[in-house]
């Protein structure tokens, strides 16, 4: 945080574009606004082409000689394979409705972060090589030659888009910038241009089953550690099986849940809940990652990583699958998994063994979101909850981009929160639900080297949190996304000190009354009755 500008200065954003014509592709790779190139070892492990260490700031990117042909051929191929791409290339009328809907534009004022221009970066090349008008009239028709500078510009701006799809809610034709960015990134990968924060996690995940590269024994240790921790906190020893054949349910979480902070408290929440209802489930070390950084690479990489979930469900002989709290993971599970790696005809239509509810809405994919599962438990009174144990939290909820705009999972988490805590306030209407603002670090952009851009991109989210923080004293930003839980804490620290970040199932874990428990603290080992003013004072001191 030390080498980033003061928030007062970062917040001085001018949304008026500069004089310079956007068609000039020169970009400046300023420290804090871009991500490092992919690690050659990871590229090699994944079998990616043109392995080398890319330094984005270098003049020479050591592109293959025929890079231009490769990209144009790749574009031609994708136009044939994706109706979305073709229509999005042809249909935009540049009405500008999307312009100030992008968190990166609002936070940076850089006109090329307007979704319309981000798409024009690709569209201009499409016009030049794939449309008659562009071929004949060139710049007059909005067409541009593909040059190395254009390629660098693509790299810069396609990695300043978190594929959050907020713009597509506002576009009259539903043009989805995520789709454009995904295609742009796929094209860049064809010539060996990518960022390490998506390549190395993907490579780890391919090998060990999770992004962090935790090997099976390490995974087992993490789960056992959590079981010990939960025993210390509650006096109850729960069973958390790994790779157990014949369990009823396979439970897949993002790896940060058993490794990251504050994700971990949500993980304890899952364990407590599953124990209390006596669920017959298992984790898998092979499919120990629900998150899928392949989504940020290419559809092929997404499929390669995702394949493990069904394969493992089949091997273990489970009946159906539950997925933990994660945003982009659920984009893949909801919108891609069944198509890519289905049909899951070896599984059964999910039916809660506790309530008897059949999850008809997941009857093909056979995978249920933990919030759907838990909301159903609560509705059917299958768990005893003591809301007051969350009284030290004044809670708001951050909808993740993907659960809201790719699933429509909006009310389930709110239903849970309202049943496990007494103080809940939503943020202003145009910053939540389908209009939710991204954390600013999604789609593989959550690196330290990209900190300035993350703080800029997260500005609109933070601003909405600040609103409820000041109005209602909100001190907990709850969410259901692993990337959120990793990247919102520094965002809060920067823009809205005094607001913690936590999982929805952490709140569940606090509230759930377990038979025979001996508890005096919440899952963070904080006493239930935190003296709030004191805590605030400590926070203020820390901030100074």
């Amino acid at each position: 945080m030390s080498d980033i500008a003061k928030k007062e200065d970062l917040a001085k954003v001018d949304l008026n574009p500069p004089k310079k014509d956007w068609m000039d592709p020169k970009v400046e790779f300023k420290k804090g606004t871009y991500n490092y190139g992919s690690n050659p070892g990871s590229m090699k492990y994944l079998g990616m082409p043109f392995v080398r260490k890319l330094d984005p700031t270098a003049e020479d990117w050591e592109l293959p000689e025929n890079w231009k042909e490769i990209i144009l051929e790749g574009l031609r191929d994708r136009i044939k394979k994706y109706r979305s791409l073709r229509i999005f290339m042809d249909c935009c009328v540049r009405c500008g409705a999307c312009a100030d809907k992008c968190h990166f534009f609002i936070g940076s004022g850089d006109p090329k972060n307007m979704p319309v221009l981000r798409a024009e970066l690709l569209r201009s090349v499409y016009r030049k090589d794939f449309t008659t008008a562009g071929k004949l009239l060139g710049k007059m028709a909005g067409a541009r030659e593909l040059t190395v500078d254009v390629l660098k510009e693509w790299f810069f701006y396609f990695y300043q888009c978190t594929e959050c799809r907020r713009c597509s809610v506002f576009c009259p034709y539903g043009i989805d910038t995520a789709e454009i960015t995904m295609m742009g990134r796929e094209l860049l990968h064809l010539v060996g241009v990518g960022i390490d924060w998506i390549t190395t996690p993907a490579s780890n995940c391919f090998r060990t089953g999770n992004h962090l590269g935790i090997q099976p024994h390490g995974f087992k240790d993490s789960v056992d550690f959590a079981v010990d921790d939960l025993e210390d906190l509650t006096g109850i020893r729960v069973d958390a099986p790994v790779n157990k054949k014949g369990a009823e349910i396979l439970f897949v979480v993002p790896s940060a849940d058993y490794f990251g902070d504050p994700h971990y408290f949500g993980f304890l929440g899952y364990l407590a809940l599953f124990h209390e209802i006596g669920l017959d489930y298992t984790f898998s070390s092979y499919a120990s990652e629900g998150g899928n950084f392949g989504l940020f690479h290419s559809s092929e990489m997404m499929k390669r990583l995702n394949a493990k979930i069904y394969a493992e469900a089949k091997r273990l002989g489970v009946k159906w699958i539950i997925g933990g709290e994660c945003g982009h993971m659920w984009r893949v599970l909801h919108q891609y998994m069944d198509t890519m790696n289905g049909p899951a005809d070896f599984l059964e239509v999910p039916k809660s063994p506790i309530t008897g509810t059949t999850f008809e809405h997941a009857k093909s994919t056979k995978m249920v979101h933990i919030c759907e599962f838990t909301a159903d438990l609560i509705y059917n009174n299958k768990v005893k909850l003591d809301k007051s144990r969350n009284d030290h939290w004044k809670v708001t909820f951050h909808d993740s981009c993907n659960t809201s705009r790719a699933m429509g999972l909006v009310e389930e988490p709110r239903y849970i929160i309202n049943n496990v805590c007494n103080n809940f306030w939503d943020m202003p209407e145009n910053t939540i639900k389908e209009q939710t603002f991204c954390c600013g670090s999604g789609s593989g952009l959550g690196t330290d080297e990209n900190l300035e851009m993350r703080m800029r991109g997260g500005f609109p989210r933070a601003n909405a949190v600040k609103f409820v923080h000041e109005k209602h004293g909100v001190n907990l930003l709850s969410c259901i996304c692993a990337i959120d839980k990793a990247t919102l804490p520094p965002l809060m620290e920067y823009w809205v000190p005094g607001v913690e970040v936590g999982a929805v199932h952490e709140l569940v874990g606090n509230a759930i009354v377990m038979k025979g428990e001996k508890r005096t603290t919440d899952l963070r080992s904080q006493p239930y009755e935190t003296e709030e003013p004191e805590a605030e004072a400590v926070k203020a001191e820390e901030a100074n």
């Binding site: 073709r86 999005f88 909005g142 539903g174 509810t357 790719a406 429509g408």
Partner: protein, 331 residues
């Protein structure tokens, strides 16, 4: 700059019409050949483009959901914003196409002092776009009166409503004025709003200017420079009957109007105006959010290289055994 170039382009088109009709007297060219050519280009171009779109597959169901999914019985789902069946999709598409649902959501973000961002409703674009498209559609349909004898009842009724205020002789049609006003607004917003000006291409202005020219020449012809309306109808009727005859002395302004209409038709399929067709086919809008209910098929789904459990266990067998994890094979 782009606006000026586009204006210049439209001015040249006007000069072409002037030279062609008034100086060279090429009435048949402008009255018969160009209209046929333009319609031909439009139809072929439109069909080809739609065909191109339709034949590219939709590999994934990438609905943009804008409301609550259908999941649990006690949670109310929103079938218009996150459709779970065909009815919902039709409803969503109808709201989008007829009433521009998404534009209605539009807001304006402003970054204020003290690290504050505020969002205000911004319905101007929605209102202008709706006024523009609806009035254009009605004006277009009204013209059917030139191509049919007797004029169908619904056209007459539409005209009666359109001329409700009974101002002027001939009566002023409201939609004509709304069309001109809204297209002018859309142009002004393009030059006045800095962000929109920045993204505007020559093509964006060109389309607006051509439509403006059509509206202006139409209004002039109806209210100021009278043309031989009987002659116009005769030409129109013979054109649709494929026995075209150009009557004498219709009036120059008519040919200008017709020429710009031809330009618009011919230009249409090669331009962003194809959003008329694209809006129906956009995969984020016209697919139901039934991803987990019904498997969506990707026609080009292919096998990929994965890391199988067997490979994984082979690599980690020893540490797995030590950690007490069950194994498929002991060695």
């Amino acid at each position: 700059m782009n606006a000026l170039l586009a204006l210049f382009g439209v001015a040249i088109l006007f000069v072409i019409a002037y030279l062609g009709v008034d100086v060279l007297g090429l009435h048949s060219l402008f009255g018969i050949v160009l209209p046929y050519a333009a319609i031909f280009l439009f139809l072929i171009g439109f069909v080809v483009r739609i065909f191109q779109w339709a034949k590219s597959p939709v590999p994934f169901r990438i609905t943009t959901t804008s409301g609550q999914q259908k999941s649990l019985n006690f949670i109310k789902s929103n079938n218009l914003e996150s459709p779970h069946n065909t009815t919902g999709v039709i409803g969503r598409m109808a709201l989008e196409i007829l009433f521009f649902r998404s534009l209605f959501r539009n807001t304006k973000a402003e970054v204020k002092e003290n690290e504050r961002i505020v969002y205000g409703p911004d319905k101007w674009l929605w209102a202008a776009a709706l006024a523009f498209h609806w009035s254009f559609l009605i004006v277009f349909l009204r013209h059917y009166r030139f191509f049919a004898e007797p004029v169908p009842e619904f056209i007459l009724k539409m005209q009666a409503v359109d001329g409700l205020f009974q101002v002027g002789t001939p009566i002023v049609f409201l939609t004509g004025l709304i069309l001109l006003a809204s297209v002018t607004f859309l142009f002004l917003r393009r030059v006045v709003l800095p962000q929109v000006r920045y993204i505007s291409l020559l093509a964006d202005y060109f389309a607006l200017f051509v439509i403006m020219a059509i509206a202006i020449s139409g209004l002039l012809m109806r209210h100021f420079y009278k043309v031989d309306i009987v002659g116009v109808k005769e030409l129109a009727m013979t054109l649709v009957g494929f026995k075209p005859v150009v009557p004498e002395g219709i009036g120059f302004i008519f040919y200008v109007h017709l020429f710009f209409v031809c330009v618009l038709f011919a230009y249409f399929p090669f331009s962003k105006l194809m959003h008329l067709g694209g809006v129906f086919l956009s995969p984020t809008r016209n697919l139901a959010n039934t991803n987990r209910i019904k498997r969506h098929i990707n026609p080009w789904n292919y096998e990929v290289k994965t890391h199988t459990y067997e490979e994984y266990e082979d690599e980690f067998r020893d540490v797995m055994r030590e950690a007490g994890l069950p194994l498929e094979k002991e060695s």
